[in-house]
Each structure stands twice: as C-alpha cells, then as structure tokens.
C-alpha cells in the first residue's frame, strides 16, 4: 500500500525532469555562471565572512530566479555566543 501511494505521489515524470533541468540551465545561461564559478564564488565569500565572524552549519550560495531576473542568494548561519 505504501509503495502504491509513493508511486502516485512521487513525480518522476519526464516533464518534471525537463523542468528541473531547464531551471538549472537557464539560470546558468542568463548569468553566465558555471558550476565551477559558483564553487569559487562560494569559497571566496566564505573566506571573507569567516575572517570576521565564525560560521556554523552549512552555508549556501546559489542563484535564484525572480521572473527574468536573477539574484545571488547567500545564506550563511553564524555561530551564536
């Protein structure tokens, strides 16, 4: 039964895969940012931040889309005192 429900609710359709792949590729196309660049960006941003404050947990640096515009979304959890 659980398997049956999983099959219905789990959307693994090729349409969903197409959407997921397009989201990634269009974001990169529009900003000209490759996966390599994003890694470098993340690394250097973290270096700068950690020079001043202590970082805790998993920081996240990624490009988000709002309409046809893109923004850099930086989420860095800081260690509390």
């Amino acid at each position: 039964m659980l398997d049956f429900l999983k099959r219905i609710f789990n959307d693994n359709s090729s349409r969903k895969q197409a959407n997921d792949r397009l989201r990634v590729v269009l974001t990169h196309d529009r900003t000209g940012a490759s996966t390599q660049l994003m890694e470098t960006l993340k690394e250097e941003i973290l270096q700068v931040i950690s020079r001043h404050v202590e970082i805790e947990g998993k920081p996240d640096v990624r490009i988000i889309r709002e309409g046809r515009r893109s923004a850099l979304d930086i989420n860095i959890p800081l260690k509390g005192r």
Partner: protein, 273 residues
C-alpha cells in the same frame, strides 16, 4: 499616404532554434491577417536558406529578391510578390544564392521605412541562430514574436533569444508555443504551457497544437488557416485575432482526471516528495 494614416507595425518572428515552426507561423498569421482585410507584407530574411516562398506556395512567382532591391537592381515594388488568394498579402523574397552578410541592419531599416506607410503589418521571417541574420531581422522591428516548442532545447534557445531582444530594448515580446500535444502533457511527458511561461516569463500570444494537417498543407503550399476545421489552422487564426486586439481565451489543457487530482493533493500534503 495621408498624414493621419497610422504607420504599419514591423513584427519579427524569431526563435533561436531552427525547425520550431517560425516560417509556418509567419505564413499563417500573415495569411490570416490579410484575410481579415489588413495590408500585409512578409519579408523573408533567411537569405541563402529561404523557405517562406515554398510554405506560401509562391515559389514560382518570384522574379527579384531583397538583395537585388538593396543592390539597386530592381525597385522594391518590382520584387514584391502578390498572393492571388489574399489580395492584401505581399511577399518580399529572400535571395537563395547569397548569404546573411550580404545585407546590413541599416538596409533592412530603410526598406521597412519605405513599406510602413503602405502596409498595416510588416512581418519578418527571421533565420535561426543569433548571428548577422538575427541582427538584420530585429533591426527595424517594433515588437517580436518568439516561437518555441515544448521541448528543452527549443526553450533554452528561446530564452537566449528573449534575453537578446531585451538587450536590444524590445518591450513587446510575445510567445507562440507550437506543436503542443495535450495528451503528452497530461501523461507527464511534455512541458505544459504553464511550465514554459514559468521559464520564459513573457506574455503568451498563442498555442498551436501538433497537427498532421500542417504537413499536408505545406506539401500543397497552402496556409493551414485556409483549412477551417483544422486545430492548427484555428490556433493560427486566433493568434491573428489576438494581434488585432481581440481578447480570446486560451484553450486549457488542464488535467482534471481523478489520478492527477490525487497526485496534486499528494504534492500539497508532502511537498518535498
């Protein structure tokens, strides 16, 4: 050309990727607008790879082409081919033995300025690609129609083209989705209209369903809009009516089956699944 007469609109039909149905779209919306009584000229800027004459069935009537006009071998009037089926439709043919670099954006602008007072719409068939041919085709245009298919590579190219049109200060960019198969969208195997609009973020002008009758009409050189009971013909007619200011609802391909409702319910209950 009286002073009060509104000048014709120049519209470029483009896509980035080839084979998505640009020329078919140009031929059909032009025919539909001409049938409504508008004065239309279609300009084929796919120099070296012309198709519009074949799709319109005008290939045997060509005497001169646009490159000859630009190079002064004939007048603009001499090069224009009149469509016998639609008294208000004219075609300015591309040259087949030349290439895209043989004309310049400024020369296309000059031709369009000459045509504007005489026609209601000047519709430009843009070649595939983002190079010189694309720059020629958008140079004189006031607005753009981007044609795409519900397929990842066509959407990616459409996105690139929309970006380039925005950089060129285009404010009016509309989307035509060609070759949609509602049954495949329903079964989860094709991008939906909403998916395409989410990715491309421009206004929708029309949805043309996959239709075998399109190939049949292409074989004959007759625009599908002449076939009143074809799904694609109706869709192209509706696009022309929307361009003309009519507000027509888009057909909904909403999946309202029991299973899809259950699946949506599941997605809402367990969003991360």
């Amino acid at each position: 050309m009286g002073k009060n007469k509104e000048k014709g609109k120049v519209i470029v039909v483009t896509s980035g990727k080839g084979g998505v149905g640009k020329t078919t779209t140009v031929a059909n919306i032009s025919s539909a607008l001409a049938r409504m009584g508008h004065k239309i000229v279609v300009m084929d800027l796919d120099i070296g790879l012309k198709k519009l004459d074949l799709i319109l069935g005008l290939e045997n009537r060509i005497i001169y082409d646009i490159v000859q006009v630009i190079e002064g071998e004939c007048t603009l009037k001499q090069a224009m081919v009149k469509d016998k089926r639609f008294p208000h439709l004219y075609m300015l043919p591309a040259a087949q033995t030349r290439n895209k670099d043989d004309i310049k954006p400024e020369q296309v602008k000059v031709i369009c300025e000459q045509l504007r007072p005489e026609f209601d719409y000047i519709i430009i068939d843009c070649p595939a690609g983002i190079e010189q041919g694309f720059r020629n085709a958008i140079a004189a245009a006031d607005s753009a129609i981007v044609v795409t298919n519900p397929e990842v590579s066509a959407v990616r190219d459409a996105d690139r083209i929309i970006g380039m049109l925005e950089s060129a200060e285009f404010k009016d960019i509309k989307l035509v989705v060609n070759r949609l198969q509602a049954s495949m969208v329903k079964s989860g195997d094709m991008l939906s209209i909403d998916d395409l609009l989410e990715h491309l973020c421009i206004d929708l002008l029309g949805i043309v369903p996959e239709d075998r009758k399109v190939l049949i009409s292409t074989n004959k050189g007759e625009p599908i809009v002449l076939n009143g009971n074809s799904a694609a013909g109706t869709a192209f007619n509706n696009i022309a009516r929307r361009m003309n200011g009519e507000e027509l609802d888009f057909p909904t391909f909403e999946d309202d089956s029991f299973w899809s409702k259950l699946r949506n319910l599941g997605r809402n209950l367990f969003p991360n699944k």
